[in-house]
């Protein structure tokens, strides 16, 4: 068989071009932005799939998230304010090679100190918040310095010590707010301290608006940190230690002192976050006021590639997520905690830069393949994309239909109708949809070689069998469970929960058919067959 150029794809052809475009990609600011945005998009897609599998509607979720955030743009800035501080704190420590996951604790200490100074010390109008913020920063800094000293002089891993200090700080502040400093007057489920004096409050930027002076302070802190890292001796030393501790030590930098100071300064910035929240938003210390700003700071720093201006980008993005999350929960009924899932996924994707490079390479290869041999490439490409869309859409319809049928199923249970009948009704929809997927895959692959056809057939036939067999088997097993003394009631009563196992089966089905697509195409191309 003569091997012509197009049949060698995607492995040999155009390697230089791919290399060149990769070089373009890996250099400079644009690459970092692409990296961050790519990670965000990937995370949103995966989180969307998870939502589908759990029976939520991801389109409605994302739509309402965006609508909620954009209809209140001031909320984005307001929510981003503490995240800028904590993000800067994490990023600054990271520049020294330290991983400060203790921003949460440092923030609590800073908040409590600011609340105490705001409530108990009388000072004139402008000086009062400044003093409160400064002392809060020092307190947060000292809290961070504990971990820094332990790291520098005792070699204690900062990840462990900062987390432990988080718990300690949260317990101490909670104790203060529910004991010695507790304000008993208002009816409030959370322990809280007395309100700060009006002189200490950070003014709002505009009336009837959430954004307060803390946001300006945050922007100034970005400038200060950028200046500190790039233009001062200590900043340079910190970056040197982060880059290579041994070399820095050889060059005469006291790396221990630098490490300790780094966590101290980082803690100080995190303390600012607490102070700005107390003085600008809450007006007092309320236990549990932070929905994990310290941990959000990690996402922000990771997303911003630990650069001060990147932190601003990351904080604004996360502020957008947080601002829209309420609307997402109320309208799309997706729990707010889904934001945490998205954040975790973003961090995982940013942590794996090679994944993005790999994906970009793939995209390049496909693009050049289509360019080089569009007659063969286009149908394959289109069927794959269509198969994907149909697969996921069908999956979404399947889960929502299932949700509607759950009430019917429960009613039929109450009316004494046969269980199996309603089960089959539910399953028929699933089978129908999976049949469409299988058919689409089958038609597209019929034109290929034997392997692809067989694989597709296996997928198309096996999946419905699995889907129909699982509930039937389980309902058939019900009496057996009972005779064994194990209660099957959670299975038989909680119809609502059926969507989880079914969703998992569906996800596996999509994965398997995708894999067969891929294997098929790869086989076809490499062996030299025409799909």
């Amino acid at each position: 068989m003569t091997k012509n150029k197009s049949n060698d794809l995607p492995h040999d052809l155009l390697k230089e071009d791919v290399q060149a475009s990769r070089d373009r990609l890996v250099s400079g600011f644009l690459q970092q932005l692409a990296w961050a945005i790519g990670s965000i998009l990937l995370a949103l897609v995966i989180a969307g799939l998870l939502m589908l599998a759990l029976g939520f509607d991801p389109f409605s979720a994302y739509f309402n998230l965006l609508r909620g955030a954009l209809s209140n743009p001031d909320q984005i800035l307001w929510r981003a304010t503490p995240l800028i501080f904590t993000g800067l704190a994490v990023a600054l420590a990271f520049k020294t090679g330290l991983f400060n996951i203790g921003a949460e604790g440092q923030l609590h200490i800073g908040a409590m100190v600011a609340a105490v100074i705001g409530a108990y010390i009388a000072l004139p109008i402008v000086i009062h918040p400044i003093v409160a913020i400064l002392v809060a920063a020092i307190a947060g800094g000292l809290w961070g310095l504990i971990a820094g000293l332990l790291k520098a002089y005792r070699g204690a891993h900062e990840v462990v010590t900062t987390i432990m200090l988080n718990y300690i700080a949260i317990i101490i502040t909670q104790w203060l707010a529910s004991g010695p400093l507790m304000d008993l007057t208002p009816v409030n489920p959370f322990p809280q301290t007395y309100p700060i004096l009006p002189t200490a409050a950070l003014p709002k930027l505009l009336t009837s608006n959430f954004v307060h002076m803390g946001f300006i302070l945050a922007l100034l802190t970005i400038l200060a940190v950028a200046y500190f890292l790039n233009k001062t001796v200590l900043g340079f030393e910190m970056r040197a230690v982060g880059f290579n501790p041994t070399a820095a030590e050889t060059a005469g930098i006291n790396s221990k002192r630098t490490l300790a100071l780094s966590l101290g300064i980082s803690g100080g910035i995190a303390g600012l976050a607490g102070a700005s929240e107390v003085l600008g938003t809450f007006g007092r210390f309320v236990a549990g006021f932070s929905p994990g700003y310290g941990f959000d700071g990690i996402t922000v720093a990771v997303l911003g590639n630990n650069s001060p201006w990147g932190v601003l980008f990351g904080a604004l993005f996360l502020g957008l997520l947080r601002a829209g999350s309420i609307s997402m929960q109320v309208t799309a009924q997706v729990p707010i905690e889904m934001i945490g899932v998205i954040q975790g996924l973003i961090i995982l994707f940013v942590a794996a830069p090679r994944l993005i490079i790999w994906l970009a390479d793939k995209g390049n290869i496909y693009a050049q393949w289509i360019e080089a041999d569009w007659k063969k490439a286009t149908p394959i490409f289109l069927t794959t994309v269509m198969g994907l869309i149909i697969g996921f859409a069908a999956f979404g319809i399947g889960t929502t239909q299932l949700l509607l049928l759950t009430s019917l199923a429960t009613q039929s249970l109450i009316l004494g109708l046969p269980l199996v009948a309603s089960l089959i009704a539910v399953d028929l929809i699933f089978i129908f949809i999976l049949g469409i997927i299988g058919l689409a895959a089958f038609i597209s692959l019929m034109r290929g070689n034997m392997w692809g056809t067989i694989l597709t057939l296996v997928v198309a036939i096996a999946l419905p069998i699995i889907v129909i067999a699982t509930p039937l088997m389980l309902s058939g097993l019900g009496p057996i469970f009972t005779s064994l003394g194990i209660s099957p009631t959670p299975f038989l009563i909680q119809w609502n929960n059926w969507r989880i196992p079914l969703g998992v089966v569906g996800i596996i089905g999509i994965a398997v058919s995708l894999a067969s697509f891929y294997l098929m195409r790869w086989k076809g191309v490499v062996v030299g067959g025409v799909i």
């Binding site: 005792r154 204690a156 990840v159 010590t161 432990m164 975790g344 994944l355």
Partner: protein, 319 residues
């Protein structure tokens, strides 16, 4: 017994019991961390893996009515988390600590979402069937051993059995040798013809399985429900136990028992009426294990971590 007078034997027995129940998840997770870290992969994701294990343990027990299936689910989901951590930090050469943090944040969000999906609430799950305890009637009357082992979860015995098994795997099998070599000197292992990445992947997945088991102990071994963020830093205490135990199975046992003792004190005080004068300090008692970890890490001599820990192994640079 008169008020104010403390039955020492009973108190020792109760403290022994709370030490065991608090130490079991720590030791299980730390053993998991040991496999991962000895192979050269930092695993701060233990916390997240435990949380997922705790959730899936409860979910499995809830849906099937059989807590052992819950344990199975927990081990599988822990291994899956380990797989993700391995893919990101071993295969894709990502930063291991960043990857671990990602898993922790993911797990914290995902478990709460699942609480809402399965049980319709965000705080605590419905009660699920826990693993039945092994009761040894003749021991029940014995002073100190009675409270400790008279009626104890089988997972505690499994934990004790796993320590020599882990020691054997780590020091007496070729897999263990390769695993340790991957953590100390991966390039030598590579030149010996062993795939460093595969060894590390297996180690991280194994680590996740053990952490998942540790999490399941929290939800269906000791307790009988899953609650939000129920791991409460135990994954990190397990990491501290691993460091304190110098990355060896028996060191992990001792360190884990020590931290378990600190963690269990508050339960011991709650169930001992004679120590009632300590009740108002409940919040402070919760702080004991966290403070203990910091003090312990502060006073130990520098322990020696595996040499290649935290560094992704890159076989050759360039394409």
């Amino acid at each position: 017994m008169q008020a104010g007078q403390i039955d020492i034997l009973l108190l020792v027995g109760i403290i022994g019991y709370t030490t065991l129940i608090a130490a079991t998840p720590l030791i299980l997770a730390a053993l998991g961390g040991m496999f991962s870290e000895r192979s050269g992969v930092v695993n701060i994701a233990l916390e997240g893996m435990m949380l997922m294990g705790a959730l899936m343990g409860a979910v499995g027990s809830y849906f099937t009515g059989n807590p052992w299936i819950g344990i199975f689910y927990a081990i599988i989901v822990g291994g899956l988390m380990g797989l993700i951590h391995g893919l990101v930090s071993v295969k894709l050469k990502g930063n291991q600590i960043v990857s671990g943090t990602g898993i922790i944040i993911f797990a914290a969000g995902f478990t709460t979402v699942m609480l809402w999906v399965v049980w319709g609430q965000k705080g605590v799950s419905d009660p699920v069937i826990p693993i039945p305890e092994i009761v040894i009637p003749p021991l029940l009357g014995v002073p100190i051993l009675g409270p400790m082992f008279g009626s104890q979860s089988p997972l505690v015995y499994i934990m004790f059995a796993l320590i020599p098994i882990c020691w054997f795997v780590l020091y007496r099998t070729s897999f263990g040798l390769r695993l340790r070599a991957a953590g100390e000197d991966p390039s030598t292992l590579d030149s010996a013809g062993v795939n460093v990445e595969t060894v590390r992947m297996i180690a991280v997945i194994l680590s996740g399985c053990l952490a998942g088991l540790a999490g399941a102990y929290l939800s269906i071994g000791f307790g009988s429900s899953f609650s939000r963020n129920m791991v409460a830093g135990r994954g990190f205490i397990a990491l501290a136990a691993l460091i304190f135990g110098n990355w060896t199975p028996f060191g992990v046992l001792i360190a884990g028992l020590f931290f378990g003792f600190l963690d269990g004190l508050k339960i011991a005080i709650q169930v001992t009426p004679a120590l009632g004068f300590l009740y108002p300090f409940n919040l402070w008692l919760r702080m004991i294990p966290y403070l203990g970890v910091i003090i312990a890490l502060g006073i130990i001599r520098r322990s020696v971590p595996p040499k290649a820990i935290g560094v992704p192994y890159i076989k050759e640079r360039g394409v």
